[in-house]
């Protein structure tokens, strides 16, 4: 290798990037004059420098729209908690939802209007939450791993949404157009009110907690029966489809009780335990470890495995605000007297 090789390439790089001083430019010219065979190299590299396309073309189409939607949602969110938890919002736009969601929609909710109508769908992944404003002004906080679907004609006669997962609704008052929340187990009909609905398909029960106003709940298993909730009422309905789904006879189902109770308050907070998640607090209220595991899985975006069935029925209560996963696990371990390990995104709990 020629001793001046390094210097040559330094000068070339300075020239190509436009950083060469007059003196450096002169040195390069002199070098090229002395060694004309270098000129061909400069020519080839400089040709490539100026004309080769970027290795990576850039953002995919629609990125600006997706960004503006995220910006819009983020602006309405409560301050993000510290600790570097990812807050990924995956929002499916109107256009994209047309064909795909017509199918999903039909599949999940034969009760709701014709499947040909376009739907908006908003979903959250594990470890993230989102706040949405519906076209009628109603506000919806969507908890982790949840999906809210509403039709494009939402502002029409009935305001109807389909919920899978958990959401807190602050429904805009409109006595003429009732707001209906459909879940797999119950339908909740409201006029203008605040309530929390929790209906995860992998949990045993669907719950509705009313904060203000009044709502009317219809059970899918018994459509004739209407239940009126008053503020702080909490309705718990077993999810029919968890165990054997369609094969279970209605008679067998009626044996399972639905439970009308009260929302729980803990001394520290003015809000009911059921809606603390809206304030970014992870709360357990005499919940079994099995439910706690599901909640934590969604909250921290991890998989929680319980190796021994006897542990699943232990009950836990507690509120966590800023705590990271290891702190929460440590607190639970102290009360539950079990062992656990955290490896990557899997938490294993054993006796």
């Amino acid at each position: 290798m020629h001793p001046r090789e390094d210097q040559f390439w330094l000068l070339v790089s300075l020239r190509l990037s436009g950083e060469a001083t007059a003196e450096e430019a002169a040195t390069l010219d002199r070098l090229l004059h002395e060694r004309p065979e270098m000129a061909a190299r400069l020519e080839a590299t400089s040709d490539w420098w100026t004309h080769a396309a970027p290795r990576n073309p850039g953002l995919k189409k629609g990125a600006l729209q997706r960004h503006l939607q995220r910006l819009n949602e983020r602006e309405n969110l409560p301050p993000r908690r510290r600790g570097g938890r990812r807050l990924f919002l995956f929002v499916v736009g109107i256009a994209a939802s047309l064909a795909g969601f017509a199918f999903f929609f039909y599949h999940w909710t034969p009760k709701l209007s014709a499947p040909a109508v376009a739907h908006n769908s908003i979903s959250t992944k594990c470890g993230s939450k989102s706040k949405i404003q519906l076209p009628d002004g109603s506000q919806v906080w969507l908890n982790s791993d949840s999906r809210l679907i509403y039709s494009e004609t939402f502002t029409g006669n009935a305001r109807e949404v389909q919920l899978c997962g958990e959401a807190y609704f602050d429904v805009a008052k409109d006595p003429v157009h009732p707001f209906v929340i459909h879940t797999n187990t119950i339908d909740v009909r409201v006029l203008g009110t605040t309530l929390n609905v929790r209906s995860y398909s992998n949990e045993k029960n669907t719950e509705a907690v009313l904060i203000h106003g009044s709502v009317e709940v219809t059970l899918h298993s018994d459509p004739e029966k209407k239940i009126i909730l008053k503020p702080n009422d909490k309705l718990v309905v077993p999810n029919a489809n968890l165990a054997g789904a369609k094969t279970a006879k209605p008679d067998a189902d009626s044996g399972r009780t639905l439970n009308l109770g009260k929302a729980h308050f803990m001394s520290r907070d003015s809000s009911a335990v059921e809606v603390l998640w809206v304030k970014n607090k992870l709360a357990f209220d005499q919940e079994t470890l099995e439910t706690v595991a599901l909640k934590m899985g969604r909250w921290f975006d991890v998989q929680v495995v319980i190796t021994d069935d006897s542990l699943k029925h232990m009950e836990f209560s507690g509120v966590f605000e800023e705590e990271a996963l290891p702190q929460v696990m440590e607190a639970l371990r102290l009360t539950g007297n079990f062992h656990y390990s955290i490896h990557r995104r899997v938490v294993t709990i054993r006796p």
């Binding site: 090789e5 390094d6 390439w9 330094l10 070339v12 790089s13 300075l14 190509l16 990037s17 950083e19 065979e37 061909a40 190299r41 020519e43 080839a44 590299t45 040709d47 490539w48 420098w49 004309h51 080769a52 396309a53 970027p54 290795r55 990576n56 073309p57 850039g58 953002l59 995919k60 990125a63 600006l64 997706r66 960004h67 995220r70 910006l71 983020r74 602006e75 570097g84 990812r86 990924f88 990557r344």
Partner: protein, 186 residues
């Protein structure tokens, strides 16, 4: 560059159009995932929007945004340190669709590809420096500020990158052939 962003959505969108692709390419070459890189760019612009009242304090907006993108990318890599390693190679080849325009190039497509591969195989810092200077047209001192290194490092690393690219085997072949031809003519 210094568009007043005070509540001005139009200016904000223009700035996005202007810088988003460069920021995306930059983040992409660090995180190696189109989705994550897009999200990082989005995060950067969300931050910009939240900061809009204090933008007058920012010296060089472009450098500022690239710095945020770098920090977001590093955070992401740190969080996903163990799970990312596997995917790197697959992504590398699949994701880069070469958009070279052979019509504009005097050198052969093979040679251009070889040079491109050399860039990909540069050490990470060297590759980022090269990319920021060539593809995004940033000045040495801007790159230095973004990557938190001295301008001298940028200058040296770029020289190293150029030398490696200049040593592409195909380029040598071409030059050798040229020389032989000249010799034969004589």
């Amino acid at each position: 560059m210094r568009i007043a962003l005070y509540e001005d959505m139009k200016a904000y969108k223009q700035l996005y159009e202007l810088l988003a692709n460069g920021l995306y390419r930059f983040s992409y070459s660090m995180v190696r995932s189109a989705e994550v890189a897009e999200e990082i760019v989005s995060d950067v612009f969300i931050k910009l929007w939240q900061m809009r009242a204090r933008l007058s304090e920012v010296d060089n907006l472009k450098v500022y945004l690239y710095t945020i993108a770098r920090n977001c990318s590093l955070n992401y890599l740190e969080r996903n340190a163990d799970s990312r390693v596997i995917g790197l190679e697959n992504l590398d080849n699949a994701a880069f669709v070469e958009g070279a325009n052979p019509a504009d190039l005097c050198i052969s497509a093979d040679l251009a590809n070889q040079m491109r591969r050399i860039v990909q195989q540069l050490p990470p810092q060297c590759r980022l420096i090269f990319q920021l200077v060539r593809e995004e047209g940033l000045r040495y001192k801007e790159v230095a500020a973004i990557l938190d290194v001295s301008p001298f490092t940028v200058r040296n690393q770029l020289a190293i990158a150029m030398q490696k690219i200049g040593e592409a085997p195909l380029l040598k072949d071409v030059l050798l052939k040229d020389a032989r031809q000249k010799l034969a003519e004589k």
